[in-house]
């Protein structure tokens, strides 16, 4: 289902990979290419992280380069800033997206402003990775989607892959970026067998800020990212049965945001739906809706719809998850709504 674009020409060797494997491979490639890359976080060493995304990296690249840190996100984030400033390229992990908050002062006050504050003397080329999203019936605080907090924080980039090829290419581009990058990894996608695809084993990057048109269409534009691309595609597929042609845009990165692809599509379709798993109010969907009405006002034939989780805690009530976290049929309703407007 997932189409891959931007595949580098001439890339030879590939291997079938899940998203988890592609991320691991990206880090392996980065550690091999650049001695300045180091990796740390909680459980990332021996265990390879609770989702095993750093599996094997300590064994291969040594404890000096891949190591367990004390249990402190503030220390992880704050030290990554210092280490990056003096020449390293830290790639650090938070155990879950919701656990970035103890580090939030370093995000809001420091990583976003360190370069600005020194007027370019110090840059902080670092990457922070973490699993996000729900639908797995995990404990509370293991299903957050905190991207909007970061989007509202200047000076940083945000990637949000939806498939193995992108995950590897975006993460490698992030590690190469001289601006700090936050990498959102949807837990539900890590080992999704449907996503397994042939991914180049070598080095390549997917440019930050170029969205992927996951499905072309003419009637409705659905904008999604990460774990929401699949339900968006499913809803589009279902709509196709009823002769409604949906274009699905997979943003790939939130910052930079590929506004051109969004606006081109909405100019064509006149109708837009933004889907995200984060809570609704003040989410990324609000920003995208604001931008669309700003830049494609005269093309819009219906109010832009947002399909999001409810404005409450991501459900710890296993049995009820599916009522809040966006599913294909919720998007289907939104499609009906924008069409009937």
């Amino acid at each position: 289902m997932t189409q891959v674009i931007d595949k580098p020409v001439g890339q030879q060797e590939t291997r079938p990979m899940t998203m988890a494997a592609a991320l691991t491979d990206a880090m392996d490639v980065a550690l091999t290419r650049d001695p300045k890359v180091i990796m740390y976080g909680e459980d990332v060493g021996r265990l390879g992280g609770v989702y095993r995304i750093t599996t094997g990296l300590q064994a291969k690249h040594g404890e000096a380069r891949v190591f367990d840190s004390p249990l402190s996100e503030a220390a992880i984030m704050g030290t990554a800033i210092g280490a990056a400033a003096v020449g390293m390229r830290p790639v650090v992990e938070f155990q879950f997206g919701g656990f970035m908050m103890p580090a939030f002062d370093h995000i809001f006050s420091h990583v976003s402003r360190y370069r600005y504050r020194s007027r370019g003397r110090w840059k902080t080329p670092l990457v922070v990775r973490f699993p996000v999203g729900g639908g797995l019936g995990l404990l509370e605080q293991h299903a957050d989607s905190p991207e909007a907090y970061l989007m509202h924080t200047p000076g940083i980039k945000i990637i949000y892959p939806s498939n193995p090829y992108d995950a590897k290419g975006l993460l490698l581009a992030a590690i190469e970026s001289d601006d700090p990058v936050f990498c959102f990894e949807t837990i539900k996608l890590y080992r999704d067998p449907k996503l397994r695809q042939d991914v180049p084993t070598g080095y390549y990057t997917v440019p930050l800020g170029k969205a992927r048109i996951a499905r072309e269409g003419t009637d409705v534009t659905i904008i999604a990212y990460g774990g929401m691309v699949q339900p968006a595609e499913a809803a589009a597929e279902a709509a196709a049965q009823a002769n409604v042609s949906c274009e699905v845009i997979d943003l790939r990165s939130i910052v930079p945001l590929d506004i051109d692809t969004i606006i081109n599509s909405v100019q064509k379709t006149g109708r837009a739906i933004v889907v995200h798993e984060a809570v609704r109010t003040g989410g990324v969907g609000a920003e995208i809706a604001a931008l669309i009405q700003e830049k494609a006002f005269y093309s819009l034939e219906a109010p832009i719809e947002r399909v999001t989780s409810f404005d409450t805690m991501p459900s710890p009530f296993n049995a009820l998850n599916h009522f809040s976290r966006p599913e294909a049929h919720h998007i289907a309703e939104a499609i009906k709504k924008v069409l009937s407007a």
Binding site: L47, L71, S72, A74, M101, P102, Q141, F317, F323
Partner: protein
């Protein structure tokens, strides 16, 4: 260990060698005869620890048969949790983290609720009205700061109560551990902070967390007492917790207690420790340092226990648990409106709109709402 540089009058470095406080040796023999509490109490501790162990075992079974969600086991830490929470009065508060099911049931959390909680059932999240247990905290270590606040509230209202909070040794690396303990210490608020040092933070061994030998040395930096305790010795835990709690209650301020124990089980039911530690290490603790076995041996030496009593007790425990499980199994299916209930006392219009959406979705599924 003390650095007695003759140059630096004011330097410190681990000035005292420390040994964990013990009343019973691992073989159950008293090493501090004079400190043995009333044997009624010892028996009660034993019963409650056995009850906790039974629950932990059963929860593993329930998880495996998918009748429970991913659950944070405490097995092996029964002395550490039960014997400490046991010293509390009903008016005292427990500020728990995810691994404190044993402490919570000791303070009165119904087992039925514990099952529902770990099933992700709304009724399990509801803390009963008469119970002074604060919400289980997952984001490490929020509970420590909340405990300082509960203690502040106790102080302000003269409630004569104490806030008892637990944290893993891994959690002590978080900034909030410091911020919370320091706040309580600075205001002499009635809080007690127990570090359950079970050797591991998921896959990360104790030594990665800090360069210090014992984490209770942090107490030194707050001007409060720090205690190092054999956390698998229920009587040492009990005696220390009692002192710390009563000190706090009478206005002497907080203490830090480090209880040396071991997480003999996986981090949670979803974890496999083979990936990061040897089974030998674990087996050594199970074989030679089990807290329940130790207490039982002691009671046997004291002729306070025998097989008959054991069998009767186990039967009681089983009956209680079975009834609780049955009750939990009969809990009504969760009301989907629970997704939005209790978000705000005065819900916003957005929440009201979303409530309508939720109702429609539930209705579309043929649900009740």
């Amino acid at each position: 260990m003390s650095e007695s540089s003759d140059i630096f009058a004011g330097s410190t470095l681990q000035t005292a060698d420390l040994k964990p406080f013990q009343i019973l040796a691992p073989d159950g023999r008293p090493v501090r005869e004079e400190l043995i509490p009333d044997l009624e109490i010892v028996e009660e501790l034993y019963r409650r620890m056995a009850r906790a162990r039974y629950l932990d075992d059963k929860f593993m079974v329930l998880y495996k048969s998918q009748r429970l969600g991913n659950y944070a086991q405490f097995g092996g830490q029964e002395a550490s949790q039960v014997a400490s929470a046991f010293v509390l009065k009903a008016k005292d508060y427990v500020c728990p983290m995810y691994r404190n099911t044993a402490a919570m049931i000791t303070h009165g959390w119904p087992i039925e609720k514990a099952i529902l909680y770990w099933r992700g059932h709304p009724d399990g999240w509801r803390i009963p009205d008469d119970l002074n247990i604060m919400p289980i905290i997952i984001s490490i270590p929020g509970q420590i700061v909340h405990a300082a606040g509960v203690a502040l509230g106790i102080q302000a209202q003269n409630l004569g109560a104490v806030a008892l909070s637990y944290i893993g040794e891994g959690g002590t690396s978080q900034g909030d551990f410091h911020a919370g303990v320091n706040f309580a210490a600075a205001r002499k608020a009635p809080a007690v902070f127990i570090i359950e040092n079970n050797g591991w933070a998921i896959s990360v061994p104790r030594k990665v967390q800090s360069g210090v030998d014992y984490l209770m040395r942090r107490a030194e930096g707050y001007g409060i007492p720090g205690y190092l305790v054999d956390g698998n010795d229920a009587l040492a835990v009990y005696t220390t917790a009692k002192k710390a709690v009563e000190d706090a209650r009478v206005g002497n301020g907080p203490s830090i207690i480090e209880q040396l124990t071991y997480r003999v089980r996986p981090h949670t039911t979803g974890d496999d420790p083979k990936a990061y530690r040897t089974e030998d290490e674990t087996n050594e603790w199970i074989a030679n340092r089990d807290p329940i076995k130790r207490l039982k041996l002691f009671l046997e030496y004291e002729k306070r226990w025998n097989d008959d009593r054991e069998v009767a007790m186990q039967a009681e425990i089983e009956t209680e648990f079975t009834a609780a499980l049955e009750a939990a199994d009969h809990a009504p299916a969760p009301d989907p409106m629970a997704l939005l209930d209790y978000t705000m006392i005065e819900p916003t219009w957005q929440l009201e709109e979303q409530r309508a959406t939720l109702q429609a979705r539930v209705a579309a599924e043929g649900g009740a709402a």
